[in-house]
């Protein structure tokens, strides 16, 4: 920092002579500030353009099917009859599985990183958990397809089908042949992918809690877990809900990892093990067969628009919750 300071004084002195007298300096400043504003506005325009183009592209499909597009379960390229229900269901359901699985793990790991781990280990373990977020999505897809799916087919799905399948109502979730893929496998893999995001925000929130609050609780004899449960988590709960929403938002739009394992069947099925589809996996999977100007391509763009709207709502809510907690 000291090097910067010395560098600064030299440049600063120079700036006095330029800034005050020569109009060149003022012009440069105007151009620079204009560039800054331009790039700031560009970010806004970019989001607007993305929404507008997806809506525009999907418009023929919305025109052809109306609002029925949202709750029609047919996806038939032969008869050109398209509806988004199967994909919307798959998108939301698999993302919820991911969050439900990732949540206890994140709570535990955040507790471990902030309260239990020896200070020397905190950073390396924290970084290692974060590296899970850096592994590209397609790698999770391959790992899921070649490693996890066979394990699910051999050891997880058959016993679940056998034990839980005959139970009424709940049993509907555990039907069909054990193929290895499906909604549960996709959800589990996404859980690993969103775990680092949720954990990082949990840790950040927990570290921002005033030490005085925690020390007071320790002072009256609370155990470490009691302080975590009764002081830390309630204090940060708004931001922590925001973190969970961020994880949900990430899972909703996950593409490559899901495409490898979910089976890409556009039929509605209650079973966790039956092949299914999400909006993102359908777009990735069916796009190569969708010729320009066909209703199928329009329907895929319409699906994209729906996904954007869902993600936007979830991410905006997440951000609102995280920021409002920071302010209070």
């Amino acid at each position: 920092m000291s090097a910067t300071m010395t560098g600064l004084s030299g440049d600063g002195v120079q700036a006095v002579s330029i800034g005050a007298a020569k109009p060149v300096g003022r012009l440069a400043d105007r151009v620079f500030v204009g560039l800054l504003w331009g790039c700031g506005i560009f970010v806004l325009v970019l989001l607007g353009l993305i929404i507008a183009m997806l809506f525009h592209g999907g418009l023929p499909a919305f025109r052809a099917f109306g609002l029925d597009f949202l709750w029609t379960a047919t996806w038939n390229p032969v008869t050109e009859n398209f509806g988004a229900l199967v994909m919307i269901y798959g998108t939301i359901f698999s993302a919820i599985i991911a969050v439900v699985v990732a949540l206890p793990l994140s709570f535990g790991i955040a507790f471990f990183l902030t309260e239990i781990a020896p200070p020397v280990l905190r950073r390396p373990i924290g970084v290692a958990v974060q590296l899970l977020a850096a592994v590209p999505s397609i790698i999770y897809g391959m790992w899921g397809f070649f490693i996890i799916s066979p394990l699910m087919a051999a050891y997880v799905q058959p016993p679940l089908i056998e034990w839980l399948g005959p139970i009424p109502v709940i049993g509907d979730l555990f039907q069909g042949p054990a193929l290895g893929g499906g909604m549960l496998t996709a959800g589990l893999i996404m859980a690993v992918m969103i775990l680092p995001f949720i954990t990082a925000m949990f840790v950040e929130t927990l570290e921002s809690i005033p030490p005085m609050l925690k020390e007071s609780a320790y002072g009256v004899g609370a155990t470490t877990f009691e302080v975590y449960k009764n002081i830390s988590v309630p204090f940060g709960r708004t931001a922590m809900v925001g973190a969970i929403m961020l994880g949900l938002g990430r899972a909703l739009g996950e593409t490559m990892a899901v495409t490898f394992v979910i089976g890409n069947a556009t039929r509605l099925s209650a079973s966790l093990f039956a092949p299914g589809a999400t909006i993102a996996s359908t777009i990735a999977n069916e796009f190569p067969e969708a010729a320009q100007g066909t209703l199928k391509l329009d329907s895929l763009l319409a699906l994209g628009f729906i996904l954007f709207v869902i993600s936007f709502i979830v991410l905006a809510l997440s951000r609102y919750l995280v920021r409002s907690n920071l302010k209070s």
Partner: protein
């Protein structure tokens, strides 16, 4: 509740939490182990010297590697200045203005928005109206993914630069462009560099947005106006194929990508830790 019960509960939760952390580390190790186990045997000189060839012809990934490098490079050339300036706008001019608040919100959305939709957008915006899949379209899609990462880190890092430093420069009469370029950017350069490295790592692993933009190409091409190969697309194509040699090549490519991405992540953290 008696003290013994509370202590037992505390102990149990601690054990379970530690176990969860071990599970996370185990998962990372498992993924890396799988990549090394399946990718290393297939990683030979052919991978770097030969084109993608039909199954049974001992092909490599050269065109895919070069295609990825070109598209990532171009994406960084487009994305870095825009992201840097937009991030600077948020930190320097957008603190109190309404536009600043909205831009910050929009950037946070873009940061986590599904990458496949960015690909779909570029398809509808560039590919469809301008005559087909191209390396340009792929680069633009990656640039759009890179921008929010750079904006976010740039803003965060510039916010860490003490106000006094800026005020001192302004007090000497320096115009804003000089203050920003010679004082704030210089003071925050390690942090900004971190953001750029992290965004390269993000661009390197993205597959979905390239599906509809640069499409992939099985022959050698450096022509940006034609479909261009890329490592993630080649992996996607090969991993889903029924041919053993293609699947092996996909694992080699997967190992290559993951090692590069993780190294970039670790280096960027070291850069920040050393100077921050």
């Amino acid at each position: 509740m008696s003290l013994a019960v509370r202590r037992a509960k505390d102990y149990t939760v601690k054990v379970v939490s530690t176990a969860f952390a071990v599970v996370a580390l185990f998962l990372l190790a498992w993924i890396l182990f799988t990549l090394v186990q399946k990718g290393l045997p297939a990683l030979n000189l052919n991978v770097f010297t030969r084109m993608t060839l039909p199954p049974g012809h001992e092909g490599g990934l050269l065109n895919a590697i070069v295609g990825s490098l070109i598209q990532i490079g171009l994406a960084m050339l487009i994305g870095t200045p825009i992201g840097l300036l937009a991030g600077t706008f948020l930190a320097e001019n957008g603190k109190t203005s309404k536009l600043g608040h909205i831009a910050r919100f929009v950037n946070d959305i873009l940061l986590s928005a599904p990458s496949i939709l960015v690909g779909l957008f570029v398809y509808a915006f560039l590919v469809n109206p301008f005559g087909g899949f191209s390396g340009w379209a792929g680069s633009v899609a990656l640039a759009i993914l890179v921008i929010p990462v750079i904006v976010r880190t740039t803003e965060d890092m510039l916010n860490l630069v003490p106000i006094g430093l800026r005020e001192a420069a302004y007090a000497l009469g320096a115009p804003q462009w000089k203050v920003v370029m010679m004082v704030t950017w210089r003071a925050a350069r390690a942090g900004i560099m971190t953001g750029i490295l992290l965004s390269i790592a993000r661009a390197a692993g993205e597959t979905a947005p390239l599906l509809f933009t640069s499409l992939g190409n099985n022959s050698w091409s450096t022509d940006l106006s034609r479909p261009m190969a890329s490592l993630p697309i080649a992996i996607y194509q090969y991993a889903g194929s029924p041919f053993d040699d293609w699947v092996a090549l996909a694992w080699a490519g997967a190992l290559l990508i993951t090692v590069s991405v993780l190294l970039l992540n670790i280096i960027s953290r070291l850069v920040l830790a050393k100077t921050g």
